[in-house]
């Protein structure tokens, strides 16, 4: 660490302006691996229709069911229906991707907005909004999800909607807490003294400060959301029409129990584990980088 000591440079110009060192890319090797993994998974999932993959819903009768990885034409083998696992992994990634974006778009927007309004206007509005959030939070989320899905039907749309609703309270709380601290800051009073109305202050002064911590936290929620979808699929509560990693793990249960074949359940489990780990890891890094304390000045 020879670059720790600052080079003493006392020319007039340098003394006049405090020069902060450019923030180093603090991802590290693991961070880069995580980012690359996520990039590969998302790109493959996005491009699934155009990639030269086997149809994930067609049984290959040329090889036995539960064919082990490396079998001719099947990189990761086949499952107990004779479907190509590699192809199903990639198509299953689409579900995880949809869940992730839906949570970021819908859960974060709605939750963030609730928190922003509650934290800025306080009073009765805050009491009303936060009690709704607290009620939602008091429900065990998986139980709420199961109830929602069994009531609305097992289609992917309903599953995603349920997961988004369950993610709202967490976003609302983070957003409210951040808004509370920033509303007290002097630049908000300064903006008001310059004649800015509530709307302008919310959008121009507070929102840009709240959005960074919220986004960083959003990645952590995405990880949880992917697991939640997987859990529902594993429990067989989502439509069997949808190819998803959780559903693949579920269908790998029988080979594991009856035929002592592990890879059918193992491969989707590992992929899901790595993906969630990567999202978590990156989310943690971003959270540290955009921590409220860091943006304080």
């Amino acid at each position: 660490m020879t670059d720790v000591l600052p080079v003493p440079e006392v020319t007039g110009a340098a003394a006049a302006e405090p020069h902060e060192p450019r923030r180093k890319s603090n991802l590290g090797v693991a961070g880069w691996l995580a980012a690359i993994w996520l990039l590969v998974v998302s790109a493959a999932a996005l491009l699934a229709p155009v990639l030269p993959l086997d149809d994930p819903r067609i049984t290959d009768f040329a090889v036995p069911n539960n064919a082990s990885p490396g079998t001719a034409g099947h990189l990761l083998g086949t499952d107990n229906n004779g479907f190509d696992i590699f192809s199903r992994i990639i198509w299953g990634g689409r579900v995880s991707l949809i869940v992730a974006f839906a949570v970021l778009l819908f859960g974060m927007t709605v939750g963030g907005l609730i928190g922003l309004l509650a934290g800025f206007f306080r009073g009765k509005l805050e009491t009303a909004l936060m009690s709704i959030v607290d009620i939602l939070l008091a429900f065990p989320s998986l139980v709420l999800l199961i109830a929602l899905v069994s009531f609305l039907g097992p289609e992917l749309r309903n599953v995603v909607l349920g997961i988004c609703i369950v993610s709202i309270p967490a976003f609302a709380r983070i957003s409210r807490a951040t808004t509370l601290t920033f509303s007290q800051r002097e630049f908000v009073v300064a903006a008001r003294a310059a004649g800015a109305g509530n709307g302008r202050i919310l959008v121009r002064e507070i929102l840009p400060n709240v959005i960074l911590p919220l986004l960083a936290f959003g990645l952590l929620v995405v990880a949880i959301a992917i697991v939640a979808e997987g859990s529902l699929a594993f429990l067989g509560l989502t439509s069997t029409e949808t190819i998803s990693w959780g559903g693949m793990i579920n269908s790998g249960r029988r080979p594991l129990q009856e035929d002592n074949v592990a890879h059918v359940a193992m491969i989707p489990a590992v992929v899901m584990f790595l993906t969630v780990l990567a999202v978590n890891f990156l989310g943690d890094r971003f959270r540290a980088a955009f921590d409220v304390k860091d943006t304080a000045l």
Partner: protein, 381 residues
């Protein structure tokens, strides 16, 4: 907005009468513990183009006064009463939209700490042009040109580059110059400067104060300079109001206040300024005790518990604000400094060995047994 006609920077004297008239103005905070009387019956007038200094120790209500006059205290528990008229327009009880129309264009504020009064995630340029575009409805390029001119006028080198920078890339003094530029952007008639130099390095303080003074003169703008430092207001104000426990205890033209002090609190403040001619390590004169609890202010004179001149009367009857010989000089005291009544009162207290009186004469806080209560002022001044 209708204000777009109000375009230029020089606030010419448009109508008759003083710019700002504050009359028996009160700001109370309703808390669970009771009513906190942060500002309790303040009256002021400020002419166009003049500078008023408001001086007091921490907790005397000077910041609350300036913010409350502007109407910036939005908490639900704030109770404002009395009257504040800007250009004849009543501000107490004015609707938020009426006030918003005045903020920025008719009155503006420079805040204490430039570290917190700039938005950390917005570029300097945008923070300055925001008001210009919103209040004066300037198109983007004109607003930018104006911002450039403003930055130049507040003495920021290389202003074009600064427009693209974020607050954290500037030093404290630079940031305060930026906040001044923002406050001046729409050419306000009245500028509140709330301890504008407290958070800054001493060497930068003088520069910022000079800048404020220069801008105030060039723009024929009235300025209220709030500070705890008598040295700050000494050469830069036309008039000084000394606040204690939410009230004005002495108000005088600047020169008169320093030569002809009447109120013992002002005298104590003046004495607590370190003097160059004194040998080093001279103990600073302190004001023993601490400011009164604003939930339950003393029934008599609010300074009486700490006052070296205090008599029985002071503890029971609140002194009114009375005129001194010099026009414009008012004070609140039963036994004013520099009069025979005051002298007798001090001697009587000395004869009885009252600690506050002895401390005031010897400057020895230990003798007074007041060490544990070294006041905020002692630390501030």
């Amino acid at each position: 907005m209708a204000r777009s006609t109000n375009r230029r920077v020089i606030a010419a004297p448009t109508s008759e009468g003083p710019l700002l008239v504050v009359d028996d103005f009160r700001t109370h905070f309703a808390t669970d513990a009771g009513l906190v009387r942060a500002v309790d019956g303040v009256s002021l007038t400020l002419e166009r183009g003049k500078t008023l200094g408001i001086v007091g120790e921490s907790g005397s209500g000077k910041t609350v006064l300036s913010r409350s006059v502007m109407g910036l205290l939005t908490a639900r528990n704030v109770v404002r009463s009395g009257s504040v008229r800007l250009n004849g327009q009543e501000l107490v009880g004015a609707s938020p939209s009426q006030l918003r129309a005045l903020w920025g264009t008719d009155m503006a504020m420079v805040f204490q700490d430039p570290m917190t009064s700039l938005n950390p995630v917005m570029k300097i340029g945008r923070q300055i042009t925001e008001g210009l575009r919103y209040h004066l409805e300037l198109p983007k390029d004109e607003a930018l040109a104006q911002a450039l001119q403003l930055l130049e006028s507040v003495g920021i080198p290389d202003p074009r580059r600064r427009l693209e920078q974020y607050p954290h890339e500037l030093s404290g003094g630079m940031r305060q110059r930026v906040t001044i530029a923002i406050a001046l952007a729409c050419g306000p008639h009245l500028l509140f400067a709330d301890e504008p130099t407290t958070a800054l390095d001493v060497t930068v303080q003088a520069q910022i104060l000079d800048l404020l003074q220069q801008q105030q003169r060039e723009r024929y703008m009235a300025m209220v300079l709030v500070t705890h430092d008598l040295g700050v207001v000494a050469g830069r104000t036309d008039e000084i109001a000394v606040m204690y426990a939410g009230q004005i205890v002495e108000k005088a033209p600047t020169r008169t206040l320093f030569t002809d002090v009447r109120m013992p609190y002002t005298e104590a403040l003046l004495k607590s300024i370190p003097k160059l001619e004194e040998p080093s390590h001279t103990r600073l004169q302190i004001i023993g005790g601490r400011p009164p609890d604003l939930l339950r202010p003393p029934s008599g004179c609010r300074f009486a518990p700490r006052c070296p001149y205090a008599q029985a009367k002071c503890h029971t009857e609140p002194p009114p604000l009375v005129e001194a010989e010099t026009p414009g000089h008012e004070f609140r005291c039963w036994f004013p400094v520099g009069t025979s009544a005051g002298q007798e009162a001090l001697e009587r207290n000395l004869a009885q060995h009252l600690p506050a009186a002895e401390a005031a004469v010897t400057g020895d806080s230990h003798a007074a047994g007041l060490v544990e209560a070294v006041s905020d002022t002692g630390g501030d001044l």
